[in-house]
Amino acid sequence: MPEPAVVSIDIGSTYTKGGLFSVERGGLRLLRQAGMPTTPDDLSRGFDAVRGVLAAEADYACARVYFSSSARGGLKIAALGLTPDLTLSIARMAACSAGGKIVKAYSYGLTEEEIAELEALAPDIILFTGGTDGGSEKTNLRNARLLASSGLASVILYAGNRKIQSDILALLANKEAVAADNIMPDVGVVNIEQARDVIRRIFLDKIVDGKGLSRIVREAGTAPKPTPLAVYDLVQAIPAACPGWDDFAVIDVGGATTDFYSHTESFHGGDAVLLKGVREPILKRTVEGDLGLRVSVEALWASERAFLGERLRADGLDAGAFAAYVRSVASRTESMPATPQEEAFDCLLAGACVRAAARRHAGTMARVFSPQGAFYVQKGKDLTRVGRLIGSGGYLSRQVDGRVLAQACAGPADADERLLLPENPLLYADADHLFPLLGNLVTAFPEAAPRAAIAQLLRLDSTR
C-alpha cells in the first residue's frame, strides 16, 4: 500500500511538466518528475501523457492532481493611470503582482491614436485607474467615453476614483467592465490587493477557455491556478513556514520572461533618509517581457546591447557568432547549447537577464545636500537586506555555482547615487526546478509546500 501522494502539473506555453509527491507525516517528498512539449491544439494530450508517466505504477493513479496553466503565454494587460509617478506606477504594480504582462501603459487622457493602438494590441485586460477617492474625475469620465465607443473587446477593470465608479460602469455598459477598490485611495497610498484578486479571477476564466482544459478541470475536480500565481503564492508562504526566511528574493529566468520576486521591507527609514514616491509592498514581483533566453532573446539583445557588447569583448568571445546564435535560438525555443561556445553564450545571456531584472526591480538612494547637511532620498524598494537569493527557471536551476546569479548583487557604489541591490546574499539554486510545481500545492499544503521548496535548494558558492 503506497503512501498517500499528490500530482502537480504545470501546462506551460512551451513545456508541460509534472511531479509526483508523497505526502508523509505532513511533509512533501518528490518521488518522480516528467515533462514533454506542450500540445497546444489539445492541452489535455500533453497533460494526460505526463500524468501517465508520473502514475506509472497503478497505485498512484488515484493521486489527487493540482495543476496550473499559463493561458497561451500569459495575460496581456494594458495599464491606464492619471499621472505616471502616482496612479500609473501603482497600476503597474498591481498588474505585475497579479502575474500579468504589461503590454502598454498610458497616462492622462487617451487620444484617438492610443485607442487605435489598444484596439490593435487587443489586451486581455485594461486596468483603468486614476484619481484618489473623491479626487480627479474629468479625465476618467472622458476616458470611459472613449473606451465605450471603441471597438475594444478587452475586459475593463476600473480601479480608480471610487466616487465615480457607478458612473464609469454605466458609461461602459456596452463593454465587459468590472470594478475593484481604488489602487490609490489617497495620494501615495498603495492598495492593490482587490485589483489583484479580480485580475486573477479573470485570468482563470480566460485559461479555462484553452483547448482541452475544461475536460481536465472536470476530471481533476479543481480549477487550474494561473502559472504566475503559483510561484507568487509559494514565495508568499515561505516566511511563515521557514524560520530565517524573511528577507529573500527569487529570480526566475525563462525563455520569454524574467520574473523577480522580493520579500523584504521596502523602506527602513532612519534619521536622514526620506522616501519619495510610493512605498512599495513587502512582497513585490516584476515581470520583464524583454528579458528571456529564447522567445525574447532578440528583445534581450536590443535592451542590453551595451552590456552584452562589453562582456563579449571582456570574455574574448566572437561577436559575430554570438549574433548568429541569438538569431538562431529565437525561433528554436527548445534548443539547448551544443558546444562550449554556445554554453558561454547562454551564460552571458542569462547573466544579462539576471543583472537587468535586478536593476529594474531595485530602488535607488541618492545623497542630497541641504542647508541642514547631507540627506538621503530613496525611491523604490530597498533590496540591500535581502540575505538569500534563489535562482529558478530552467537555466538557473541547473547552475552549480553562483557566477550568473551573483550578477544581481551590488557592485562598487557611487557615493552620490546607488542602486539598492542585494549585498552579498547567500546564493541558491532551485535545483529540481520545483518552485512552479510546489506553487500549485501551496493552497492545499500551506506549510509542507514551502518547506519542501526550501529543503531542496542547492547552496551555491559565489564566484565573482
Partner: protein, 121 residues
C-alpha cells in the same frame, strides 16, 4: 476640500509643516501633506490625482524663489489652470520688507504670500 501641503526643495524643516497640517485639518480641509523636500512635480501630481483646490508651498531656508519659479506655469501646462497657490515661510535670504517679498512671489503666480509671523486664522 482637498489641499496639498508641503515644504519645497532641498528643505527638511518639518515642524511648521506639521502645525499647518493640524490647523487646516481642524478647519475642515482634507490635507494631503507631502512632507519635506518636495519637488514641483510632486506637488502637481498630487494636486491632479486629488483634484485639489489649492497647493500650499512652505519654504524656510531662504531659497524659495528659485524653487518656486515656474510652478504656476507648470500647473497651467499640466491642466491646473485655476488652482490656488499660496507660499509661506522664510521665503528669501536676508531681511527684505514683506511687501517686496509679496510682490516677488505674486509675480511668480502665487495668490497669497505669507511671512514668518502669521496669524493662521
Amino acid at each position: 476640500m482637498n489641499i496639498i501641503l508641503g515644504v519645497i526643495g532641498s528643505d527638511c524643516h518639518s515642524v511648521g509643516n506639521k502645525i499647518l497640517e493640524a490647523f487646516f485639518s481642524e478647519n475642515g480641509f482634507h490635507v494631503i501633506n507631502l512632507g519635506v523636500m518636495v519637488s514641483q512635480d510632486e506637488f502637481i501630481d498630487a494636486a491632479i490625482e486629488a483634484a485639489a483646490k489649492a497647493i500650499l508651498v512652505s519654504s524656510l531656508y531662504g531659497h524659495g524663489e528659485i524653487d518656486c519659479e515656474g510652478l504656476r506655469q507648470k500647473c497651467t501646462e499640466r491642466g491646473l489652470e485655476d488652482i490656488i497657490l499660496y507660499a509661506g515661510g522664510n521665503l528669501v535670504v536676508g531681511k527684505s520688507p514683506q511687501e517686496a517679498v509679496e510682490r516677488k512671489f505674486k509675480a511668480l503666480g502665487f495668490d497669497r504670500v505669507f511671512g514668518t509671523n502669521v496669524d493662521l486664522h
